[in-house]
């Protein structure tokens, strides 16, 4: 079978295009060739964290791959059967543990055997899902597609020292079921959590204070979580919204030279945008769900659908990758100005 060609220079998010392609390729047994990886970036080609995801994918699917070097603009990937088992991966430069999982978790869900995966690196990294988002927002929805996933945070890891550790147990699904999330329904509870590592407690208090003044979410000392297991200073602010349709979490990572108030303002803006729409699935969650839903549809689960906020260019590109691997495009219907329905059959 000639490999499917993915043009990495069009659309957004070169790294995500590679991770989505890897997940779909392994789960569906379709080889691919991606060219023009991050072509328009200042530092084009594969970055180290992309290479780690690629190598993890090679490991779980005994793939034959070319272009597996930092700076590579083109990767060819031909997966073998995905094998469950025990794996351990480490991500350098505090690259995100959750992004590596984005590439391999959907495939492990359709493997022949259960898996135990340990990944070391950043658990709360910029431009990546936080561990809490993975655990409380994404994994419960993946479980509804079939199989069972258990994720445990063993150690926190922040930029730049990393040192975090996440353990994942995956029991593959015998058969897959469709996912259908159409309504958010009533918001049942909201909660803000500020994680601080080796930083003054005041950082957490100021963030929570800012969230209360902007969103009216009350807090007490239990909302501040001081952790001592990470080697370097770090901070993450997580805003949970639990509704009838499920849980979504909006996280922002604190950085040096970024005030607690700025961190809180960024997180609050995401929440406000989410609450302005009536969609149950926020933009980040939508991005993470497309590939698993597409795999379920390809495995005969029937149509999966969810309602989310209008698609970012990131999500549009992701939909195009799905269409390329499945040979059919997802349906995207507008539900008024503030939400769209995304479905794949």
């Amino acid at each position: 079978m000639p490999p499917l060609h993915i043009n990495g220079s069009t659309g957004e998010g070169g790294g995500q295009m590679l991770r989505s392609s890897l997940a779909l390729s392994m789960a569906l047994g379709v080889p691919f060739r991606i060219t023009g990886i991050r072509a328009n970036r200042e530092k084009p080609g594969l970055m180290r964290q992309h290479l780690t995801a690629l190598q993890a994918a090679i490991a779980i699917s005994s793939a034959r791959a070319e272009g597996t070097a930092v700076g590579s603009r083109e990767v060819t990937f031909a997966p073998g059967p995905v094998r469950g088992g025990s794996y351990r991966f480490a991500v350098g430069t505090a690259g995100s543990v959750t992004l590596v999982l984005q590439a391999i978790l959907p495939a492990l869900l359709v493997a022949d055997e259960p898996s135990e995966v340990v990944i070391e690196g950043g658990t709360h990294a910029r431009s990546a899902p936080t561990f809490e988002f993975l655990q409380h927002a994404l994994v419960p929805l993946l479980a509804r597609l079939g199989g069972a996933i258990d994720v445990r945070l063993e150690k926190h890891g922040f930029y730049p020292a990393g040192g975090g550790r996440v353990a994942v147990s995956v029991s593959p699904a015998a058969t897959m079921s469709p996912l259908m999330i159409e309504r958010r329904g009533e918001v049942r509870s909201t909660r803000a959590v500020s994680i601080v590592s080796k930083l003054p407690f005041d950082v957490a208090r100021r963030e929570l204070e800012a969230v209360r003044s902007r969103l009216g979410w009350s807090f007490d000392t239990r909302n501040a979580r001081v952790v001592d297991d990470a080697p370097c200073p770090g901070n993450a602010l997580l805003l949970y919204i639990e509704s009838e349709g499920g849980t979504d979490i909006f996280g922002v990572i604190g950085e040096r030279q970024k005030s607690s108030e700025r961190v809180a303002a960024e997180a609050c803006a995401e929440v406000e945008s989410y609450l302005e729409s009536d969609a149950p699935i926020g933009p980040h969650l939508a991005d993470q769900l497309m590939v698993p839903c597409a795999i379920a549809a390809a495995k005969g689960a029937g149509e999966s659908s969810f309602v989310t906020q209008p698609l970012s260019s990131h999500s549009t590109t992701n939909s195009e990758i799905v269409a390329a691997f499945l040979g059919r495009a997802p349906t995207i219907e507008s539900r008024g100005a503030k939400s769209v329905r995304w479905s794949i059959r």
Binding site: K43, G45, M47, R48, Q49, L51, T68, A69, V70, G71, A90, V91, G92, T93, A94, E120, P160, A161, G162, G163, K198, P231, C232, P233, R256, Q257
Partner: protein, 537 residues
């Protein structure tokens, strides 16, 4: 299998320091090197003083956290004084010599942002000289942010990889080549390639250069240009000293070349430095090196190898560093086989050997050389002379034709243009002028070609065709007879008596032997050579 990257560098005993959690908020060069999104260091060779062992271990542990892909190997290297050039260089050179570089599978980076400035300089030198087969890598904190990650810059010292620098070199090379060609835009591919090679050797080597080629092919001119080029490039600052070895015969040869002390022989009235000393720091051009006597050859070889030699009558050796350019129109290998040229000297000078083509092998270059000669004439005589269109075409057509043998090469061309320019009326060379000049040239070439048989077998065996061509027919006929007489006599005195049989009677002191010796020396000959050649025959 993808190649992997190996970095080699000093531990920064100041910049890499840090134990508390806040060390992660600072830029630390060695950690930063392993922390880049777009650079994967598979192995780090971390050089550190034994006193900094615990810091090295700490840095290695931090690198393991940020870069689990990187293996850190620590090397305790103790340098007495890290600001002492010799100690640092030796220590690093030892490290490089002992290191098993696997350049077929690994790329090496030498980290220069840590260590003393002396260490930086030494690392640069060792990398530039390929003791470290590596590129340099610099790390620096990122401007305007406090990101501990910083930036890295890889510096490849292979200058040909940089377009703008390469263009600069190319420009310079073109200028150099132009200097070598005396600014003449020659079109002959073979010749241009040759000059390109000479440029390379002249600017990159101080070894002897051997220029072969027929008389008048421009050896002497080219040697001068090579000296000019070396002077421009500050590769030499001494004089350009030129001598034709064919003129160095007899007792004076040694002294001319190597100098003498006052009183070392009759006539040595004062110290004489000799040409080799005069060329100290400069370029010595020995034309017709094949004519050099065997004793002089031995001395020259020593001067080349040891940069020192003993002047006549001196009790201490003198030194001279000169670039030797040798010229010859002979087949030196043949002279070696005949036992007339030292094999070891030949081997020493036969390293960069260039054969200059004859003018008739370079028909494309006749026109630019004609213009060059006209310009030269104008400079010399302050008179601008031009060909008429028709005259120029006719002259060039003849000059490039098979009829034009140019046996004297550029010497002939130069003389021809000088004649034309001098005789041209009103600064214009006419068709008639050209026709007459063509006749002159043809006549002179006919004569040269017809000459060797008329010069007799004795002379042909003693002198090279070029030397013969330089002797008037009048003298040649006389010399031929003189040699015949010499060979029929037992001693030089007998021959002198026979040859000067009339004039000797009118003299008060009849030193016929001395008269004969001086006569022979005019042609670079002496009694033993004249008679030895007869014995061999």
């Amino acid at each position: 299998m993808a190649r992997s990257t190996v970095a080699i560098g000093f531990l920064g005993t100041t910049l890499d320091v840090g134990t508390g959690p806040d060390r992660w908020e600072r830029w630390r060069p060695t950690v930063s090197l392993c922390q880049q999104d777009d650079l994967l260091v598979s192995r780090l060779e971390l050089l550190h003083p034994s006193s900094a062992k615990s810091l090295a271990k700490g840095v290695a542990a931090d690198i393991a956290a940020v870069s689990p892909e990187t293996a850190v190997r620590r090397h305790a290297i103790d340098i007495d004084d890290p600001w002492d050039f010799e100690s640092v260089y030796s220590a690093l050179d030892d490290f490089a010599r002992g290191y098993d570089f696997k350049t077929d599978v690994e790329d090496y980076l030498v980290h220069i942002s840590t260590g003393t400035h002396v260490a930086q300089i030494c690392l640069f030198l060792l990398t530039e000289s390929r003791r470290f087969p590596a590129r340099l890598v610099q790390t620096a904190p990122r401007a305007k942010t406090t990101s501990p990650q910083g930036d890295v810059r890889i510096i490849d010292l292979d200058l040909s990889r940089y377009d703008r620098i390469a263009a600069r070199f190319e420009r310079e090379r073109r200028d150099n080549v132009s200097t070598l060609k005396s600014g003449i835009a020659t079109g002959n591919v073979e010749f241009n390639r040759l000059v390109g090679e000479i440029e390379h050797v002249a600017t990159g080597s101080t070894d002897p250069i051997l220029l072969m080629g027929p008389t008048g092919a421009g050896k002497s001119q080219l040697a001068k240009r090579i000296a000019d080029l070396k002077r421009q490039r500050h590769q030499c600052d001494g004089a350009f000293v030129e001598v034709n070895c064919a003129t160095l015969r007899g007792d004076g040869a040694m002294s001319t070349l190597f100098g003498h002390k006052k009183g070392s022989f009759t006539g040595a009235a004062s110290d004489r430095p000799g040409l080799l000393r005069s060329a100290d720091g400069g370029v010595l051009f020995l034309d017709e090196i094949g004519e050099l006597g065997l004793d002089e050859q031995a001395m020259l070889l020593r001067a080349l190898e040891e940069k020192r030699f003993l002047p006549l009558g001196a009790d201490a050796e003198v030194t001279s560093r000169f670039q030797l350019i040798a010229g010859t129109n002979r087949d030196l290998a043949l002279r070696v086989a005949e036992g007339r040229f030292r094999e070891d000297l030949f081997a020493r000078i036969n390293l960069w050997t260039f054969r200059l083509p004859a003018l008739r092998e370079r028909p494309e270059d006749i026109e630019p050389n004609v213009d060059f000669e006209l310009d030269r004439f104008a400079d010399r005589s302050q008179r601008v002379v031009r060909f008429s269109r028709e005259a120029r075409d006719r002259y060039l057509a003849f000059a490039r034709s098979a009829a034009a043998t140019w046996s004297g090469n550029f010497r002939d061309l130069s003389a021809s243009i000088t004649r034309l320019a001098t005789l041209a009326a009103g600064g214009r060379i006419s068709v008639d002028d050209v026709d007459r000049e063509i006749e002159r040239l043809e006549r002179s070439w006919r004569r040269t070609e017809a000459d060797p048989p008329t010069s007799g077998p004795a002379l042909a065996a003693l002198l090279s065709p070029d030397d013969l061509a330089a002797i008037d027919r009048f003298d040649r006929m006389q010399l031929e007879s003189v040699i015949e007489v010499c060979r029929s006599c037992r001693t030089i005195s007998d021959a002198g008596r026979e040859l000067y049989q009339a004039s000797r009677l009118k003299r008060r002191e009849a030193n016929d032997a001395d008269r004969l010796r001086k006569y022979l020396a005019r042609f670079g000959l002496d009694w033993s050579r004249v008679t030895a050649a007869s014995a061999r025959r």
